[in-house]
């Protein structure tokens, strides 16, 4: 799954981006939209 593979990269974004840019980032949007509670990004 994309998010599982990119957790380290998203963690780095916390330090690299300001709040506004962080919230606009597509990976962050995906993480917050799904958290661990949806299966849409799983390849099933």
């Amino acid at each position: 799954m994309f998010l599982d593979a990119e957790l380290s990269a998203i963690t780095r974004l916390v330090l690299e981006l300001d709040d506004e840019a962080f919230q606009r980032h597509e990976a962050v949007k995906l993480l917050m939209a799904h958290g661990s509670r949806r299966w849409e990004d799983a390849i099933r």
Binding site: L3, D4, L7, S8, I10, T11, R12, V14, L15, D19, F22, Q23, V28, L31, M32, G35, S36, R37, R38, W39, A42, R44
Partner: protein
């Protein structure tokens, strides 16, 4: 021992351990797994079980929240087991985190789930959980240390810790099934 006897034995043991819930179903009294045990039992490699977990977490948080003011230790129990985003939002909105520093410190020390730890971390960075189910990686912890409590970055880090825990639990379940297959 018949299946009925086994079930009776298990439910009696769960009741004795305070890990059972009793409710009415079909006109009769039925013993259920406690919500904490049910949550644990759902930690499988199946994505659909994790959808159930997200709902059960919200139910557990709502129950613990409702007990505040009616049961001793309820605030500490809520904080130490806080799992859902909805529960976190409600805890912030109701300002249950504002006044009782001791409850927060105790909750961090006794919490077991990485998402709970990540949620409370900015409020008690010097406190270490004694029995975390899965360690939180150094990188998210370092980022949590610099994040503002309740901010989008803070909540994103909670989700990162939650997702890492889920991935670990799925791997454990998959390995467990494979072991049983190999020795079956």
């Amino acid at each position: 021992m018949t299946p009925e006897q086994k079930l009776a034995h298990i439910t009696r043991a769960l009741k004795d351990a305070g890990r059972a819930e009793v409710g009415l179903y079909g006109g009769g009294e039925v013993t259920f797994l406690s919500i904490a045990d049910l949550l644990k039992s759902k930690e499988t490699e199946r994505e659909s079980d994790w959808l159930d977990i997200s709902l059960l977490e919200e139910i557990q948080d709502a129950r613990n929240q409702a007990a505040i003011g009616t049961a001793p230790g309820a605030l500490q129990r809520l904080l130490a087991n806080l799992r859902s985003r909805r529960g976190m939002d409600r805890a912030i909105a109701l300002r249950v985190l504002d006044d009782d520093r001791d409850a927060i410190v105790t909750a961090v020390a006794t919490c077991a789930h990485p998402a709970t730890y990540a949620f409370l971390f900015p409020l008690a960075q010097q406190v270490h959980p004694l029995g975390l189910a899965v360690p939180v990686d150094a990188a998210p912890l370092a980022s949590l240390a610099s994040s503002v409590f309740g901010s989008p970055k803070h909540f994103a880090l909670v989700e990162i810790c939650r997702r890492a825990y889920k991935r670990h639990a799925m791997d454990v379940d998959r390995a467990d099934k494979q072991t049983k297959l190999n020795h079956g």
